[in-house]
Symmetry: C2
Subunit: 385 residues, 2 copies
């Protein structure tokens, strides 16, 4: 079977709604016009509740890694000490970024699938009192786990230590309360819950982070946050040529999100995550992050004797249902099912249904349909509530 | 009159063909799939003749400035000496980039609208024999002028000095012979002759530039060219999440370009430029760059007593014909008409026709229609040839 209709349940890029695709397919406009400025202003304003901040959101023409880089070289000087949580591929990236810019990165290594414990942050800050910033993932996409950002912020906000959180698979997925928690920088990307193609990154800075950014001596040009903020706030345009169609699409996507209302968006993501997670035990499988699972992506461990890469390839290439495997140490051992943005709980019947078929092909024994039934049960319970 | 149909003759973003808009409006795909890899490979291959190189083209999810930054921090070490030609806003940007990354930039200042003379390069390299690279614009978009890249390359290729050219409004507009001339790095952007929305940048490196990039000690992460090249060549994907829809759109745009054939594309751009330039004297106006005009954008000086900003605003907001004014020192003194990519010579009847109407409104005296007639005459002559 090579189906004509295909599904995308990868943890980014995630599906883009037709309304957004059509908005982006309109004739292009110039980035220094009143029309573009109006869309930019509106999109930046509409983003604030998703970040949980009254601060200005800064848009960058880049993928999420660009905004991660901006957090590093705008908030720290070369030689500055930082603590970073390495509990997956994206946590590791903080370490590589810090190294690239000559900062001293103190690593807190966390087993894949686990959350960092706030005591570990406390301890690291005691060991390295000169630490200027802590870097963490609000949601670690590679392990499908969340870290306790609010608790970490409760530690950093009492000190002269900034907290930088990667919210690429968190913003728009579950509630972020940047201001209330005391997060100093929150990073997002377009291709997840914001329902856009990749190519647009966002970052919001707290007041003290912005002050630090104004003094940073690390080299930067394309990702110069104080400059971008000034231009976006005062001139209603971007420093460099904006990713025009993505900004217009973002504004449309945010209109859809606010039409649905944020509480419902968050509840939908929670339901999709719970339903998908429930499929694992029903199939006799385990989750990679059972204690602190991410609401945007679910990581299911494949059985010992099954090659996860084959499962993923079969789902994608033969069944037309795109999911992702594990990265690095989890290669071949994990199936990651994304449920972010333009995805409905019913879609998880398809994701889990295809997973079952691919597992059966690989010789794994279970009751076909048990996972799908678990998903369905969760949807039914929610519908009745 | 507030027309329903609007035109975009800005020097980027330039119009995007419907075929490309529709290609980008297809359901999004993941960037680590055979389907995306095939499009990436094909687009990178199809770009080579536009750059005039057998080298690999590297794609970056950024606007053109990102690729300019990549040229600086991948090819030079902090403290290295460089010569840059500052004959406009983008030449000035080379200087700011060099400064941001701690290089020593020796400026060759050129009057706006003029071309740098090869002797000036020779002299600068005599004055600063330690120079590791020369930075120049193949086409300086702010002044609508070209610099003699081939002649400059004839100087740099004999030495251990790299030549970096900004081809953002040159690639796909007129012939670039990177390999034959001996250009070491050529930068391009998506939103000009490549007929795409902004958000994708490209750079090609000569063999010696690539070798230098492998050794550079300047800080970089998002714009790490050796890493990107390795992944794009060997893994058929990008280091960071690709701007998927722009890459698919690029491949489509390049298909259109090669269907038209490159010689015809270049000839069409030359005709549009000649026809647009001819309108200036017909209206009693002067060009900013009469001796070395750019084939992608024409800069017409507005008469002394006319406020060019009003002309541009009237054309854009009242007549629906988007053009750009001057930047910095040319603010209010220049009208820039872009003719790149998805534009036909007949479109210049509209651009010049609207310019005439806006000039008349501002009280400038001339024979209405004289500029339009000059455009028409050039098209007729070309059609008859």
């Amino acid at each position: 079977m090579q189906p004509n209709k295909r599904y995308l349940f990868t943890p980014g890029p995630a599906p883009v709604p037709p309304e957004v695709l059509l908005e982006m397919a309109r004739p292009i406009i110039h980035h220094r016009t009143p029309e573009f400025s109006a869309a930019l202003d509106q999109a930046r304003e509409r983003l604030k509740p998703l970040f949980g901040t009254r601060s200005e959101i800064i848009l960058l023409a880049a993928s999420g890694t660009g905004a991660m880089e901006a957090a590093v070289n705008n908030l720290l000087d070369p030689g500055d000490a930082a603590v970073f949580v390495n509990g997956g591929k994206f946590g590791e990236r903080w370490g590589r970024l810090l190294k690239a810019y000559g900062m001293v990165g103190h690593e807190i290594r966390v087993e894949w699938g686990r959350a960092v414990r706030p005591e570990q942050i406390e301890q690291a800050l005691r060991d390295h009192p000169e630490t200027r910033a802590v870097f963490v993932q609000a949601s670690e996409t590679s392990t499908c786990a969340v870290h306790p950002v609010a608790e970490i912020a409760a530690i950093t906000r009492r000190r002269d230590t900034l907290l930088v959180a990667d919210g690429i698979t968190s913003v728009g997925v579950f509630e972020q309360r940047m201001d209330d928690w005391g997060v100093d920088a929150l990073v997002a990307g377009s291709q997840k819950a914001l329902m856009l193609p990749p190519g647009l990154a966002m970052i919001a800075l707290s007041e003290r982070a912005l002050e630090r950014a104004g003094k940073s001596r690390a080299p930067r040009f394309y990702f110069d946050l104080p400059r971008e903020l000034r231009l976006q706030r005062e001139e209603h345009t971007t420093a460099w040529t904006a990713a025009v169609s993505l900004v217009l699409g973002l504004n449309k996507a945010l209109e859809l999100i606010h039409d649905e209302t944020l509480p419902r968006v968050f509840r939908r993501h929670a339901l999709m995550a719970e339903a998908t997670r429930a499929a694992a035990p029903a199939l006799g499988l385990k989750l990679l992050a059972p204690e602190n699972p991410a609401p945007g992506v679910t990581g299911i461990l494949v059985p010992e004797k099954v090659d996860g890469s084959k499962v993923v390839r079969s789902m994608r290439d033969r069944l037309g249902v795109g999911v992702q495997g594990g990265q690095d140490q989890m290669k071949g051992r994990l199936v990651r099912i994304g449920h972010m943005g333009y995805v409905s709980p019913f879609d998880m019947l398809i994701a889990v249904g295809a997973l079952e078929i691919a597992l059966k092909e690989q010789g794994f024994h279970f009751t076909m349909g048990a996972g799908v039934a678990a998903v369905q049960e969760h949807i039914a319970r929610d519908a009745a509530s």
